[in-house]
């Protein structure tokens, strides 16, 4: 749409937006008074205008999804132009009318600098148009600019951001509360949900043209939409798909269709493209919410000039994955961020530290800050160093949604006497990653819920989206709904089990709600074979009621075995901790303190189990909530198990008088590394190729027979349990090959490309990027089939009980 040539009516108000700041919303925008028209007339005119767009599909999308209050008396939505993405509606409260304005600042008119878009309404018979407001697309440099650093923790389940303007101290930087433009329930969201943006995404609208940015919904709202629109493209935990696929491994790279709730784009698209769209959208959310934090500002409060973008990363990522992510963020920044020349020159995307190191920095900074530089011995002793030395060994166990990162960090500090500042150094002593984490716990709960339905109602139909149902009426849509509902209930169960109650019961109403997802499988008698009224049947029992002890038993049975083909379960994290403890003890490097982070660590038995396996008393194993007394906790502390990463990264870089620096790892191996074989007691090393203390990197030769796979693994002890770190697969059926592998550290292996042998790095817990991510596939309990079912049935009587 072109800028209007009509002169602006005197007194017409402007909603001023900046390009590339996402979907900008201004709720309650004042309508310019018009002496010639009454409020009623205006409102009627707005309603008439809206009728024209009743069936306009984009307007319908806006009506259903945009973050505006549905409770208000309001006209329908109007598009300023049918080809553009600028919308308005009129609301009436008492004797006043206001406008809700919505502008897409990435596409169309809202992205064109200097554009003035009239918001006007026609007048019945003669179509005289009344100008209600203007939307003006202003240059970024005209707004107040704040130069600063954006820090981002891109999480599997949730992401968080801190904007730290230049010169701001560690406490002045604030956690960004990303506003979600497509969330009609925006005013019901709690403070927690605002601080942490759920990372799930669903495509709301996509056009056929690649240059047009799709509308993506993130956050809690995306979960709700995924449930209701299973045929649209969506991703749970997009971070899992951040993976570098070298050219020779491109074939297995996952792809997806690109379909929105409205519209679609031709063909298949790599998953990574959707991760890019997610990151794009996140950045838009951040920019939009900094410029217009409450969706009510009629001008940008400021434009954040991001001079530096700092991101944390999980230990799970290989060097190539880290590089890929950095490039993706550079790409996002180049498209969305506007810089003055001198800022552009300095701009860089920096992967500042790993997530566990960020957590360690957070713990240390908070503690040192409150104790003060003169009391660091006291501070250190509360963190477990009872020797009075300037050092601390902190073991961070970060149990996220998709992966568990474990890092033992050796921390040293030195106080500069002349200014009381503290130089803190971090050195990674040990680290480990598992693709088993909070999702695994959800998966166990989901398997149990599934089993409950099977036992009680005979509902045994697979929910795998790829498998055609025996009953054609039980479509993929039903399956999607059922999986979403089960996932939601599993999350409720986890939350309840983490609370002081320690039990969770599937309420009859929830059970009934869940059953509705299986409607086609239930005959009108309420069961897939059993007569009786459905509600009665639900009430009659047996009931699903779970306590912590029962849940803990499940976790304890979830371990590596022949049945799992050597893949570890959640319990193997604790077995690993036990081995780690022995290894550290032999080196006289016992951790002083264990810090548990990640939401799953709210389950009390995680702490107990970690303490026992590490041979430590419970007070030396702390969640982030236990680090400081309540009166010293800062704003947002109730979510620190999630925010510690982003806040820690911010402290790591902008710690004021507490300066952090990470020292290079010692260039030696800490584990035995070799080929791996199955044994009845789990995976063991077969041929040891590298020993602890050997200098790294190291090139080793491995013989791979034809049509065989050879696994490379590591272990703390020569005869200890091994974890697989790489798999070599010889695709030739006739030729054996001797290949050279570069072992870079305890878990990073590289091999130059080879005509027949493919080397894939492996992460304990499985390399499949959808490990435990049944949301995207519907495959509950499929690794291997029935493994989790057998676990939960071991103590069935404890949770599947008569009412």
């Amino acid at each position: 749409m072109r800028a209007t040539k009509q002169p602006a009516k005197a007194g017409v108000y402007q909603f001023i937006v900046l390009p590339n700041t996402g979907i900008q919303i201004c709720r309650g925008f004042p309508v310019t008074p018009d002496a010639q028209r009454s409020i009623d007339e205006l409102f009627k005119a707005a309603n008439r205008a809206a009728q024209e767009f009743e069936s306009h599909e984009v307007v319908r999308l806006v009506r259903e999804h945009v973050a505006c209050n549905r409770e208000l008396e309001a006209s329908g939505w109007v598009a300023c132009d049918t080809n553009e993405f600028v919308f308005w509606r009129m609301t009436r409260a008492g004797a006043e009318v206001h406008l809700d304005l919505v502008v897409d600042t990435r596409n169309g008119a809202g992205a064109q600098l200097g554009n003035k878009i009239p918001v006007q309404v026609g007048n019945g018979l003669f179509r005289r148009r009344t100008r209600l407001a203007d939307i003006f697309v202003e240059r970024h440099e005209s707004a107040r600019n704040e130069i600063g650093t954006l820090i981002m923790d891109f999480g599997n389940s949730g992401s968080s951001f801190v904007f730290s303007r230049n010169g701001a101290g560690p406490l002045q930087a604030h956690v960004v509360q990303p506003t979600n433009p497509f969330d009609p329930r925006y005013n019901e969201r709690s403070e927690t949900e605002r601080n942490i943006l759920k990372s799930n995404m669903i495509v709301l609208r996509v056009g056929p043209r690649t240059e047009e940015a799709p509308w993506i919904v993130l956050g809690k709202r995306s979960e709700e939409l995924i449930r209701d629109h299973p045929l649209s493209t969506y991703l749970y935990a997009p971070k899992k798909y951040v993976r570098h696929w070298p050219d020779h491994l491109r074939a297995p790279e996952p792809t997806m269709k690109f379909r929105g709730i409205l519209g679609q784009r031709d063909g298949l698209h790599p998953m990574l493209h959707f991760v890019r769209h997610t990151l794009d959208e996140m950045m838009q959310h951040v920019l939009a919410s900094l410029a217009n934090p409450h969706g009510t500002s009629d001008e940008p409060e400021f434009y954040p000039q991001v001079a530096r973008l700092m991101c944390t990363y999980p230990l799970t990522w290989r060097e190539s994955d880290r590089r890929l992510f950095q490039e993706m963020m550079e790409d996002v920044a180049s498209r969305l961020l506007v810089h003055e020349d001198h800022v552009r020159e300095q701009f860089k995307v920096e992967l500042i530290c790993s997530e566990p190191v960020a957590v360690a920095a957070f713990v240390l900074w908070e503690t040192f800050f409150h104790f003060g530089t003169k009391n660091l011995a006291l501070a250190a002793s509360t963190l477990g160093n009872t020797k009075g030395t300037n050092e601390l060994r902190m073991l961070v166990v970060d149990i996220g949604g998709g992966s568990t990162d474990i890092a033992c960090v050796d921390i040293g500090w030195n106080v500069q006497q002349f200014d009381d500042s503290v130089d803190v150094t971090f050195k990674l002593l040990e680290s480990m990653r598992f693709n088993r984490a909070g999702d695994r716990l959800s998966h166990l709960l989901a398997a149990a819920l599934r089993e409950h339905l099977a036992l009680k109602y005979g509902l045994t139909e697979s929910l795998d989206f790829r498998i055609e149902s025996r009953n054609p009426a039980f479509t993929r849509g039903y399956k999607r709904l059922a999986v979403s509902r089960i996932a939601e209930l599993a999350e409720h169960a986890k939350a309840a089990l983490s609370s002081s109650d320690g039990t969770w019961t599937l309420e009859p109403a929830d059970e009934l709600d869940l059953l509705h997802c299986f409607e086609p499988l239930l005959d009108d008698t309420g069961n897939a074979g059993t007569p009786g009224n459905l509600e009665d049947r639900v009430r009659r029992g047996p009931r699903f009621s779970l306590d912590r002890a029962t849940f803990q038993e499940w976790v304890e049975h979830d371990r590596q075995s022949l049945e799992t083909n050597g893949e570890p379960g959640f319990m193997d994290i604790f077995f690993y901790l036990e081995e780690l403890r022995q290894s550290l003890r032999e080196k006289n490097r016992d951790p002083h303190l264990v810090v548990l982070s990640g939401r799953s660590t709210r389950l009390p038995f995680i702490r107990t189990m970690a303490a026992r396996r590490l041979g430590l008393p419970p007070h030396r194993v702390r969640t982030l909530a236990d680090i400081l007394p309540d009166s010293l906790k800062l704003q947002g502390h109730e979510n620190m198990d999630k925010l510690a990463v982003v806040c820690g990264a911010q402290r790591f870089r902008f710690g004021d008088h507490i300066r952090f620096s990470a020292l290079a790892d010692a260039p030696i191996f800490n584990r035995y590394i070799g080929t791996v074989r199955e044994t009845p007691t789990g995976l063991k090393l077969n041929r040891v190729l590298i020993r602890p203390g050997d200098s790294c990197p190291r090139t080793i030769d491995v013989e791979v027979p034809p049509a065989r796979d050879i696994r490379i693994g590591h272990a703390f002890r020569e005869d200890g349990t091994a974890q697989v770190v790489a798999n070599l697969s010889n695709h030739s059926h006739t030729k054996a090959h001797k290949v050279s592998l570069d072992v870079l550290d305890d878990y990073s292996i590289q091999m130059p490309s080879h005509e027949d042998v493919v080397c894939s790095e492996w992460v304990p817990g499985g390399n499949d990027i959808v490990v435990d991510n049944f949301h995207d596939t519907g495959r509950i309990d499929g690794e291997p089939d029935g493994f989790l079912r057998r676990i939960v049935l071991k103590n069935r009587e404890a949770w599947h009980r008569d009412a």
Partner: protein, 686 residues
């Protein structure tokens, strides 16, 4: 320069430590403890590992190294050539080409006529250091881009460029094999006397010749391996030479034995660019210079640093500074400024460079752009040397080279400086251009002292640099040696650690105390199970937590309130343990004595004794909450430590054994006291 007494003290402490650790295995009771304890062997292993430190493997000789560090093209070799004319004559300081190899020259003293003067030793990096160079991220990336494959073997690194993507023009210049094995020397290579002055040999080691003038054949053979010039460029770490120090001795005016304690290290230039002459090693050799300096630092071989910067050029030292911070942490660099001299080379440039001359000849330019010192010294050097802001070196010296001055002016050095002297003297006058900056940098007196030597053709400021260096060594050397040999080696920590270990099993006279303590602890803590550490939490929660709340004063706390609160906590714990333990009164007495002793140690180690927390009613509203938090955690720590206090069973002790322990304890205590006294005398914080 370094007092002999100090060197003796360091060696005595080292010897005492060796003696004490050597005697321990001879003590029967200690052997038994080692056999039954689960933690002692690891702790003792760590103590014994201290002697593995390279600086403790042989006695301290009181030598200090002076590293000359500067960027490529800043005239470092020219200056050294004039400072060490003997080496120059032998051809080891190459000044006719700029494309030199990256290794350091260690120049040590040998008296006139000594056969040692002819000794030359070539040392290589070890395999880890070679790997580290090839494994640098930038090197790896460039090698990957060029398809140069690197294999890291146990004893060597293979660099294979046979499949590499090089331009045909480059390939046409290649003289060396494209697959190279980089293996360290099995031992230092002593250069045979007949080759130590052989021009071809020296140039093969020190210069990257044009391919047309190059021999790709073996240069030396060592440990059965032959090395060509390209391999040597990668593996050689340094060349050790001896020199008579004739100029150094003359300039310093000190006895020979003092000067003999200085070792000069000529390090390769910083900010070196890659060279196509390095063929398949081009990427790694580009980084070798800075890696050498970093390795010297990591090996603690950079005692004093002369940072040489050519007048008008910028310092590149920050690159090294950042690398050291990244490897060793910022604390490592805490005292670097005190041990550093900035040497501004090419004083003549102030008088020959038109732009610089304008700065002092036109006061308006100086006012607008800063005077010549503000530009050349403050902006270009002191503010560029460190990523953490302006550096304040121990000294700043200005010097020059006769050969350069005489080439530039086509006259005598003395004549040139006769003209420069009055200009320099004007800078020193109040109101003179440059005076303000010199004053601001506290360099007025120092520069005044520098003028005469600069104008002296026999000194050229180089002698002044040597004298300043001696002063700095005198001021900082003793503290440096103490830190280097006592602290950084871990010797002092080892001494104290060993004392601590022994004191937890023996009393001050060497008598075993463990058994009585163990019995008392076992009896009094019988209500806790050491295999069930959750019991600690339960006991603290049920019996201590509510009363801890009452311990901490919230209003008008007395001085020392934090420590008093801790002792009140200890009383509370003791009372509860005795109450629940129900041990016999004499056992309770033993427990109480042990506990009280421990409480005093804990108060010290856990920071209560020195706590400086503002009281809750005077400035820090939450300090009472913080102290309560500490007490809660420490209550659990006290119970935990008492509970897991190591149990060792059945260790008998005779009189001989007690005497042996007593002797070891005395040796350690004597050594520790001497160490503490030396540190106190020279202001070294421990």
């Amino acid at each position: 320069m370094i007092p002999s007494d100090l060197v003796n003290t360091l060696n005595d402490i080292r010897a005492a430590y060796m003696e004490a650790t050597g005697k321990l295995p001879e003590i029967a009771s200690f052997r038994s403890l080692m056999g039954t304890s689960s933690t002692l062997p690891a702790a003792v292993r760590e103590i014994l590992a201290v002697m593995e430190h390279r600086h403790l493997k042989r006695p301290c000789d009181g030598r200090v190294t002076v590293a000359v560090i500067g960027s490529s093209g800043h005239g470092k070799t020219t200056i050294l050539d004039e400072m060490f004319p003997g080496l120059s004559e032998r051809g080891w300081l190459v000044t006719d080409v700029t494309d030199t190899t990256s290794q350091s020259l260690r120049i040590e003293y040998a008296p006139d006529g000594s056969p040692a003067l002819e000794e030359v030793e070539v040392r290589s990096w070890d395999v880890e250091q070679i790997k580290e160079l090839l494994h640098l991220p930038a090197v790896e990336e460039q090698n990957r881009n060029d398809n140069i494959r690197v294999s890291y073997l146990e004893d060597a690194v293979i660099v294979d460029g046979t499949e590499a993507r090089f331009s045909d023009a480059d390939l046409g210049q290649f003289r060396f094999p494209r697959r190279l094995r980089l293996q360290p020397f099995s031992e230092p290579f002593s250069v045979p006397a007949e080759r130590s002055s052989e021009r071809a040999f020296i140039r093969a080691l020190t210069v990257k010749e044009q391919s047309s003038a190059l021999s790709a054949g073996p240069v030396l053979k060592q440990g059965g391996e032959t090395y060509d010039a390209l391999q040597l460029r990668a593996v050689v770490k340094d060349v050790r030479l001896r020199d008579r120090f004739e100029n150094i001795r003359r300039w310093s005016g000190r006895p020979d034995e003092e000067v003999a304690r200085l070792t000069f290290v000529d390090t390769p230039g910083l900010a070196v660019q890659g060279s196509a002459k390095d063929e398949v090693l081009r990427h790694c050799l580009e980084k070798k210079s800075s890696q050498i300096a970093l390795q010297l630092w990591k090996d603690d071989e950079l005692d004093f640093i002369v940072h040489l910067v050519l007048c008008g050029r910028q310092s590149d030292f920050a690159e090294l500074w950042k690398a050291i911070e990244c490897e060793c942490g910022p604390a490592e660099l805490a005292d670097l400024q005190d041990r550093m001299i900035v040497a501004v080379n090419g004083m003549n440039i102030y008088f020959t460079n038109r732009d610089l001359k304008k700065k002092y000849e036109d006061p308006e330019t100086a006012r607008r752009e800063g005077d010549h010192f503000a530009t050349t010294l403050l902006d270009n050097v002191l503010q560029k040397m460190s990523p953490r802001g302006r550096v304040r070196p121990a000294r700043v010296c200005f010097l020059d080279s006769a050969s350069i001055v005489e080439t530039l002016t086509t006259g005598q050095y003395a004549d040139a400086y006769q003209k420069y002297r009055p200009i320099m003297e004007r800078w020193l006058e109040p109101g003179g251009v440059g005076h303000t900056t010199l004053k601001e940098l506290d360099l007025l007196e120092s520069f005044r002292d520098n003028v005469d030597p600069l104008c002296d053709p026999e000194d050229r400021g180089q002698g002044h640099l040597v004298r300043q260096l001696q002063q700095v060594v005198e001021e900082q050397g003793p503290a440096l040696l103490l830190k280097k040999h006592l602290c950084k080696t871990g010797l002092l920590r080892g001494l104290e650690g060993l004392q601590e270990i022994l004191s937890s099993y023996y009393d001050d006279e060497g008598r075993m105390t463990r058994e009585a303590t163990q019995q008392a602890l076992g009896a009094c803590l019988a209500f806790l199970d050491r295999n069930d550490l959750d019991g600690v939490e339960r006991f603290a929660r049920d019996h201590l937590d509510s009363r801890i709340e009452e311990i901490v004063p919230r209003r008008d706390p007395p001085d020392g309130w934090v420590q008093e609160s801790f002792f009140a906590l200890c009383d509370l714990i003791k009372e509860n343990v005795l109450f629940h333990g129900e041990a016999a009164p004499d056992v309770q007495g033993s427990f109480a004595r042990y506990f009280d002793g421990q409480a005093r140690t804990w108060a010290q180690d856990w920071g209560y004794a020195d706590a400086q927390l503002a009281p809750p009613d005077k400035g820090f509203a939450n300090s009472a909450d913080l102290v309560t938090h500490c007490l809660r955690l420490h209550a659990r720590d006290v119970l935990y430590l008492l509970l897991v206090e190591e149990r060792v069973a059945g260790v008998e002790q005779g009189d001989d054994d007690r005497e042996q322990v007593d002797e070891v304890l005395r040796i350690l205590e004597h050594a520790r006291r001497r160490a503490a006294a030396a540190c106190a005398e020279y202001g070294v914080g421990v």
